[in-house]
Amino acid sequence: MPVSASSKCCWVILLYGWLCCSLANAYGVSIIKASLNLERQYYVLSADLDYRLSPVAKNALRSGIPLSWSVAVGIYRERPWLWDKQVHYTVHRYRIRYHPLMNIYQFKDQANGRVEKFLTLSGALAAMGKIRDMHIVELHRLDPQRSYYADIKVSFDREALPLPLRPGSYVNTDWSLSSDSYRCPIKK
């Protein structure tokens, strides 16, 4: 049976869609592991993140455009009959930029102003992906009789991009650099 042009076209579109999805999955942030531990009356977050930038994002970075992410941590109280209640929410912002003069990558924790410099991008991304002892919430704010969990999401801040890039970043999968939500229990 001859294959019509329209069915060929459909196949091409499906293949393109699949490829786009695959590539979209290839870039972004993966939360490899995360845990909230109690340390000196504070629940602190330790997480290992894997930042994978698309060539477009790398090119933008090399062109001097800073890239920003926010690590959002929500603490939810589990409820049997209603949706879970958010009891605490905190956001930490990170920015990475390239300095052509010194040929270094600079990573900055916006929360505490900590700046680290790296000769390679991978080094900067690795440093940014290693979160250690990030203060999230005080112990007394959580009811020991109840069950809580943390929802962690790393979002790429498109609004921090230069204005001409913003509209396109919402439709271009090269700029889909956020992570999925990661749920981890809170150890008491």
Binding site: S63, M102, R158, E159, G168, Y170
Partner: protein, 713 residues
């Protein structure tokens, strides 16, 4: 009180809409400026504008669809609206498209003009020059520190600190530190005495140092000032490292910063080149799209408002064409269209007035016509009207009754058509047609015809009808059935004859009879036997004939005498039983009766009605002879909205021939040798004197049949 929506004037709505669009576009335009506070809201503003465009597009599509449906239904004003909309869209789209095209071209060319190979190379060269300048300074500081490091070999911490202070001051470094191999600070010196702890090399630097290489690089201090960091190995028993931080002169640092900023900016712009194009084109397209869609939507509203009075006028005209003359349109404006609507309202008011007047006149005419028709219907005379070409126009009920046909069925047809279907009317039709065509004035003619009930005498009168202009427009013919009138006149004449005969004949009869008896008495003894016998026979004959003549004259008298009735209410059945009791005694007669019970009484003269029955029974017995079978039926009938008692009498005699039918009830008409011919004439006279009627039942063929009816009380 009816609910009224508060509506903004269209002009105000349009001004508000365009103001909102302009504000939105202005905000978006402002947001594109990096320094603007709206910069962070750019995406939201873009989304709002896109949503606004989608909403406007939806409104335009809805309006287009609505217009398409109106066009399909061929609604009033839809084609004019379409033409105006198309014209408006063409007039607005063409210049907008031209402006858009050239603006986009200009924009793209403008953006492209920012970038070229020379600037690109110049920027790179500038950066390289800055790097080379700093590199030279770094190499010089490296060489300087490498030379100084020898003076610190194997010195104790205290001595090293003193030496370090000297070296720092000699070299011009801002900070100098001696570090152990495991990054422990052995001694340090800073230009700023408040800084106790020197800054330590980062991991990358340590990695490089552990590889046996010295390190020199650029860094920034806490105040973001450029510093040259030099770390070199100090020879000795223990492996030590000397780190020195040299501040870059402010002028050089500013120049380098400026070059780096420009380079980064240029690189960024180069990277954003396509995005810039897209972004500006998108903004420009959005401006054009919003403006155009808003303009088209407003065009729909404005054109609809302009066309609305025209639509109303079209609908009003259609309503008037359909006969709704009371149609009034709202006057929505005081312009030319408003004046047109007012004129339309005046026109419909006048038409409605004229229509009402015409309707009143029509009702009046109709009433007159109905009245005339009622009068005509109630007339006992037949009336037929004809048009100009002598087609039948109208015929009243009496015409149908007199002619025994439904004349109105021939409305619109010729009289000859009527004659073709009913040949017995051909003589009448011929006379009427001829007289109608020839007569210029009123005419009158008696016409006889043979109807289903025998011969009919019609007295016809006709007159031509003329229009006010004198043109012949038709004719009207009035005719009466005068058969009974003529018969009555005939009967009266016969009565007068009988009275005179009785008077003239009866008077001499008594002297004749007396004279004949006297002759017989005087001469009987004087004559011989033979002569006496002749005399006896002759006088006997004279006396008998005189007696017969007397009886005949008495009968005449009876017929001619005005009836002296004594009217009483009787039961017809009882009266018939009384009469029949006399005949039941005869052995050769069989009488059958069929009486309906509980009949109403009749007001009659019993003596006269007995005579009627006697005459009819006598005739029946004489006609039937021996073995006569006489059947008598009594019943009640309704005719012409009146109750009648009907008596039917049938015999088994020879019956009545068709030739006898016409004259059967006339005086002196008899088929019997000794009859006077007055029996049935007297019967008919008595029945008619009582308001009844008698006729021969022509449907009965086994003998003679008579039916008479008397009005019931």
């Amino acid at each position: 009180m009816p609910d009224k929506k508060i509506k903004l004037p269209i002009g105000a709505s349009i001004v508000i809409l365009f103001s909102m669009i302009l504000l939105s576009l202005q905000l978006m335009s402002s947001a594109t400026q990096e320094s603007s506070q709206l910069n962070a809201m750019y995406s939201w503003l873009l989304l709002v504008n896109i949503l606004g465009s989608v909403v406007l597009l939806g409104l335009v599509v809805v309006n287009i669809y609505s217009l398409y449906r109106q066009l399909k239904k061929r609604e009033a004003g839809s084609r004019l609206t379409t033409r105006m909309i198309l014209l408006f869209v063409l007039l607005s789209l063409a210049p907008a498209a031209i402006v858009f095209y050239f603006s986009a071209q200009f924009l793209h060319q403008g953006i492209d003009s920012w970038f070229n190979v020379e600037i690109d190379r110049a920027m790179e060269d500038a950066l390289e020059l800055s790097q080379a300048s700093l590199d030279q300074r770094m190499r010089w500081h490296l060489k300087q520190i490498q030379q100084m490091s020898g003076e610190l070999a194997d010195k104790s911490s205290a001595l090293a600190a003193i030496e370090l202070e000297k070296l720092r001051a000699a070299s011009g470094a801002s900070e100098m530190a001696l570090l152990s191999r495991n990054a422990r600070i052995i001694a340090s010196s800073s230009v700023n005495p408040s800084e106790i702890l020197p800054s330590l090399p980062v991991d990358n630097v340590w990695l490089q140092l552990q590889g046996g290489n010295d390190y020199v690089g650029l860094d920034s201090d806490e105040d973001e000032h450029l510093v040259i960091q030099v770390v070199t190995q100090v020879d000795g028993k223990h492996k030590r490292y000397l780190q020195a931080l040299f501040p870059v002169p402010v002028r050089i640092a500013d120049l380098v910063d400026s070059v780096e900023f420009a380079f980064v900016r240029y690189q960024e712009m180069t990277f954003l080149r396509n995005s810039l194009r897209l972004s500006f084109t998108l903004t420009l397209s959005l401006v054009l799209l919003l403006s155009l869609l808003a303009a088209i939507w407003v065009a729909f509203i404005v054109i609809r408002n302009i066309i609305a009075p025209v639509n109303e006028l079209v609908k009003g005209t259609q309503a008037v064409a359909a006969g709704h003359y009371e149609q009034q349109l709202p006057v929505m404006s005081q312009d030319d269209l408003g004046f047109l609507v007012e004129s339309f309202n005046d026109m419909t008011t006048r038409i409605a007035g004229a229509r009402d007047e015409a309707r009143r006149a029509s009702i009046e005419v109709e009433n007159q016509r109905a009245y005339l028709e009622t009068v005509l219907t109630s007339l006992t005379s037949g009336v037929i009207s004809f048009d100009a070409v002598y087609n039948i126009r109208t015929a009243n009920q009496a015409a149908n009754k007199i002619l025994h046909i439904l004349v109105s069925k021939y409305r619109g047809r010729k009289l000859y058509d009527l004659a073709n279907d009913h040949p017995e009317l051909s003589g009448l039709v011929k006379v009427i047609q001829q007289l109608m065509q020839q007569a210029e004035d009123v005419w009158q003619e008696s016409v006889a015809l043979l109807g289903p009930n025998g011969r009919q005498e019609l007295l016809c009168r006709g007159t031509p009808l003329f229009s006010p202009e004198g043109r012949r427009v038709g004719a009207v013919v009035v005719f009466d059935d005068v058969t009974e009138l003529i018969q009555a006149e005939k009967n009266a004449a016969w009565g007068e004859v009988a009275r005179r005969l009785a008077h003239e004949i009866k008077n001499p009869l008594t002297p004749i009879q007396l004279s004949a008896e006297r002759l017989r008495h005087k001469l009987a003894g004087e004559l011989n036997t033979e002569s006496a016998a002749i005399l006896e026979r002759s006088t006997q004959t004279i006396v008998q004939q005189v007696e017969a003549m007397k009886k005949m004259v008495d009968d005449f008298s009876e017929y001619a005498r005005p009836s002296k009735k004594e009217i009483v209410a009787i039961d017809m059945a009882d009266l018939l039983q009384e009469v029949l009791a006399l005949y039941n005694l005869q052995s050769n007669v069989q009488i059958k009766t069929e009486f309906v019970s509980n009949l109403p009484l009749v007001e009659v003269d019993p003596v006269s009605i007995r005579q009627v029955m006697h005459n009819l029974l006598k005739n029946a017995l004489e006609a039937s002879g021996a073995g006569a079978v006489i059947s008598i039926k009594l019943r009640q009938v309704y005719s012409n909205n009146a109750r009648f008692i009907e008596v039917a009498l049938y015999d088994n005699g020879p019956g009545i021939t068709n030739g006898q039918l016409d004259t059967l009830f006339d005086p002196y008409v008899t088929s019997k040798p000794k009859g006077t011919g007055l029996g049935l004439a007297i019967v008919k006279k008595i029945v008619e004197d009582h308001g009844g009627a008698i006729w021969v039942d022509t449907e009965y063929h086994q003998g003679a049949g008579f039916i008479f009816r008397l009005p019931a009380g």
